[in-house]
Point group: C2
Chain length 193, copies 2
């Protein structure tokens, strides 16, 4: 059993769904949670991209060997959870095992919370939780690409920006560094995007 | 005219195309260069994802208001260039202006180099250059999503990992932090992916 050292997550607040790029566009590893017919699962995911603001679209690569692939196809929903660097051992552990090896919430001492708008559990220990509906299944067969719409976002009230983990392959992670505004260099109309 | 302070890029080497995720999966802002019929352009891009190792696929969101959209549709090629943090003012400047406002290589003192396998210029000042062929146009109309295959990769010999810039919207960037191997925590078969 791995050692667990986790920070306490501050209270969460509703966050505008059309601005979740603040947390996803920088490219962190995320945990995807899902449920269907009494089963639930979590997977570690690194291949995702923002595809629109309004509706708030996110494209996710979910390989058909993951149990989550089937659960999400059936329930047409998932939660994208953003873990912080203190959860890195959990992130790796979740990625190391298959859904068939037992319930991952129990195994990794993660706390499921009910979502407001979709049928999938939030992971309480994560900095942010994005409730997503599957809105396009047409790219699943060709590219394992699920297109989701984020319909509700919960984000910790602090810190303003989380310290996230970003995967480079071969066991190497980049940890997110400092954040800085360069607004003064932007044309005003470019800040709308 | 903005002040330019740039580091010298070390010599580049060929890099395995099936391992470019080392640089793209962490989610950096990239510069996309393209050319067609005597015109060339550069755009700043934050919405991209790895979609496969072999072939080496990258999905890129390229809005139809960018001149690059047309150039890439015509030439069926681009180069994805990875800039480092010392180029952040150039990255913002390139994003601030439209291709119709003049040649961006000249305007931002960037050096075009011929690609080996595609008809698009590399940006010499960037840490890595990925020559890409457009392999799927079917998602362009619906999602502005271009699916590219990387056919040749050039990467600076050092440092091993670049310090990259990651966009959060509203003028705020995250600068990549330290890199660390957690191989000891991975199951061996998980390191293959």
């Amino acid at each position: 059993m791995m050692q667990i050292r986790r920070k306490q997550i501050s209270r969460k607040r509703d966050f505008p769904v059309d601005d979740i790029r603040r947390f996803l566009e920088p490219g962190p590893i995320v945990l995807v949670s899902s449920a269907s017919k009494g089963r639930r699962n979590i997977m570690t995911m690194g291949w995702h991209m923002i595809m629109g603001f309004s509706p708030s679209l996110v494209g996710c690569f979910i390989w058909d060997q993951n149990e989550s692939h089937e659960l999400i196809r059936r329930s047409k929903a998932c939660v994208i959870n953003v873990p912080t660097a203190d959860l890195i051992e959990t992130v790796i552990g979740v990625g190391n095992c298959h859904g068939s090896e037992g319930d991952k919430f129990d195994r990794f001492s993660l706390t499921p919370r009910p979502a407001k708008k979709v049928d999938a559990p939030l992971i309480a220990e994560c900095y942010a939780n994005f409730e997503c509906k599957l809105v396009d299944t047409s790219l699943i067969r060709r590219y394992s690409l699920f297109v989701f719409e984020c319909v509700k976002a919960h984000v910790a009230t602090k810190p303003k920006y989380p310290t996230t983990v970003h995967y480079r392959g071969h066991g190497v992670f980049m940890i997110s560094g400092h954040n800085r505004s360069y607004r003064r260099l932007f044309k005003p109309e470019m800040l709308e995007e």
